[in-house]
Amino acid sequence: MKTDRDTATRLLTQMMQIRQFEDKIMELLAKNIAEGGSHLYAGMEAVAVGAISVLRNDDYITSTHRGHGHAIAKDGDLNALMAEILGKKTGVCKGKGGSLHLADVSKGNLGANGIVAGSLGIATGAGLSVKNRKSGQVIVCFFGDGATNNGIFFECLNMASLWKLPVVYVCENNLYGMSVSVERACAVQDLTKKAVAFDMKSDCVDGQDVLAVRDTVAKWVDYARNGEGPSFIVANTYRYYGHSRSDPRAYRTREEEKFWRERDPIKIFSNRMVEQAILSAEDVKEVEESVTKSIEEAVDFAMKSPFPEPEELYTDLYA
C-alpha cells in the first residue's frame, strides 16, 4: 500500500496517542489517581494501529486485557476512554467496565476482556453473524501469545476455518504471557504452526513496523472480505512496561528491553516518513504536540468527571 501524507499523519497520531495515553496512565497509577490494574500497550502501538487502519468503520475488532491501544485505534474517544479507566460516569462504559473492559460496540469495538482468550469466541461468533447476514464486514481479533495456549483459542480457530468465517486472528507475540516466556509456555516457538492444526492460512509480520503490519493485515482482511476464510497472523512485538505496575520484570533482561526499545515503532515510522519526505520533522513535532494536548485534555476531562451515582449500581444489568 502507498502511504500518503494523510495516512502517515493518521498512523503517527494514533501511535503517539496510544504511547502518551499509556505513559500518562503509568503516571496516574504511580500517583494512585488511577486505581486497579492497567496492562499497558506502550511499545506495541504499530500492531493495533496498523491492523485497524485497514478496516472499514463498520468492521469489528475484539481486544484483550491490554486493550487501550486497540480502543484508541478503533476510533476511540480519548476522553471517554480515560474517564472509563478512572471509573467515571463519563467513561465509555459509564465507569462500570474499567481498563479491562473498554468497549464501544457502536464503533465496532466488541470489547477488551479480563479473561485471556476470552474474546476469541465473541470474534468468531461475530464472524458467523457477518457470514449469515452477508454484510461484508470483517473481524480482527487481537490476543497475546499466552492466549494461544488456552483451549478456547483452538476451539475457535477450528470453527472459523471449518466455516470459512471472515475473521483475521492477530496474535501479538510480545514474548511473554505475564512472566512466562513463549519458550516456557508453548511447545512450538513458531506460533504460526498452530494454524496448521486447522488448515488455516498464516502469516508473520514485524509488529514494530506499522506499514508492514498494515500491508499484511490488509492482505488477509481482503481475503476474509472476499469470503475466502480466516487467517492467523503473528505480529512480533514487545511491551515496554511490566505486565502490571508491581511487576519487577525478573523474567527478562534489561538488555532485551533495550534491544526492543531501539526498535521503537514510533521512531521507526516517523524516521522513515521523514526520510521519504512524506512528513517533515516539523510535521512530526506538530503531531506530537497536538497529541500531548489531547491527552492532557483527556486527563483533565476524566479527573473532573464525577463518579457514577449510587443508583447506577443496579442499572444496565438487563435490557
Partner: protein, 325 residues
Amino acid sequence: MREITYRQALNEALKEEMERDSSVFLLGEDIAIYGGAYGVTVDLWKKYGDARVLDTPISENAIVGVGLGAALTGMRPVAEIMYIDFIGLCMEQLNNQVAKIRYMFGGKCKVPFTLRTEGGAGRTLGAHHSQSLESWLMHIPGIKVVMPSTPSDAKGLLKSSIREDNPVVFIEHKMLYNIKGEVPEGEYTVPIGVADIKRTGKDVTVLTYSRMYHFCMEAAGILEKEGIDIEVVDLRTLLPLDMETILKSVRKTNRVIIVEEDCKTGGTGAEIGMKITEEAFDWLDAPVVRVAGADVPMPKSPVLEKLAIPDTKRICDAARKILNK
C-alpha cells in the same frame, strides 16, 4: 385440546420462532443431521439447512462464546449444550462474558441469546449425565433461568426466551421429553419470571419446578385422599424468582415445602427458602422444608439413583410431617 409431547412442543417453538424471525439460528452438537441427542431439533436442519441449524464440533466453551458474538452483532442465536453436566466447560464464557457484558459495557449492547440444555437423573446414566446444576446459574446476575415442567409451558417459555433481549438459560429435563400434555394450536407465549399455581390448596405450599413438579402432583393426589390439600406452585423461572406469587401462597398456607432434584447443599431450595424466611418469617408456622437430592454424585445403579433424588413418598412424608399428621 390437542396433546403433544414436551419434545414436540419445544420443536414447534423453535420452528415457529425461526419462521418468524430470520435472525434466529441454532447451533450445537448433533443438532442438525441427528436432530439433537434428545431429538428436540429434529427435522429443522432439513428445513433450514446449515446456515440456520449448525452442527458444531465438540467445543462447548466456543459454542457459548460464538453464540454471544453472534448475539452482539445482530443475530438471535439458540445454542444447545447437550447435557447440563457439560456446562462446566462453558461456565467461563457464560458467567464472565454472556452474563456480564451488557453491565460491563454500561448497557450499551444487548444479548438476545438463548442457551438450551437439559439435566436431571432418571436414566441411570451415571454421574456425568444426570446432574441438576441450576443453582450455579441462579447465582449469575445478568442471565435468566427457565425450567419448564409441561409441554405447554415448554413451548411458551422457549418462545419468550428466544424473543428476550437478555441471555436465557433454558433447562429441559431428560425424563420429560416424552410426556404428553395439552398445547394450544397457534401462537402464544408464556412470560418469563412468572410462577404458575398449578394446583390450589390450603394446607401447604409446595414450591417446585421441572420434573419434580410431576412428583408433587402425584403426591397431591395421594395426600388429597388423606385430607391434606397442598398447593403446588410451579416456579417455571428460577431467575428472577416470582416472589409475589410465592409469598401470596405462603401467606395463605403458612407452610412451605420446596421440592428440588439438585443436591441439597447449595441448591436452589436454599435461596428460595431463605428468601421466604426473610420476607415472610411471621407467616410461617413451621420452618421451610426442603425435599432435595442427596449430596453425592449421581450413582449409576438404578436402586441408588432412585434414592438420590426425591420421590413421591418423601414428598408425602414431608407434607404429613409439616402438618404433624
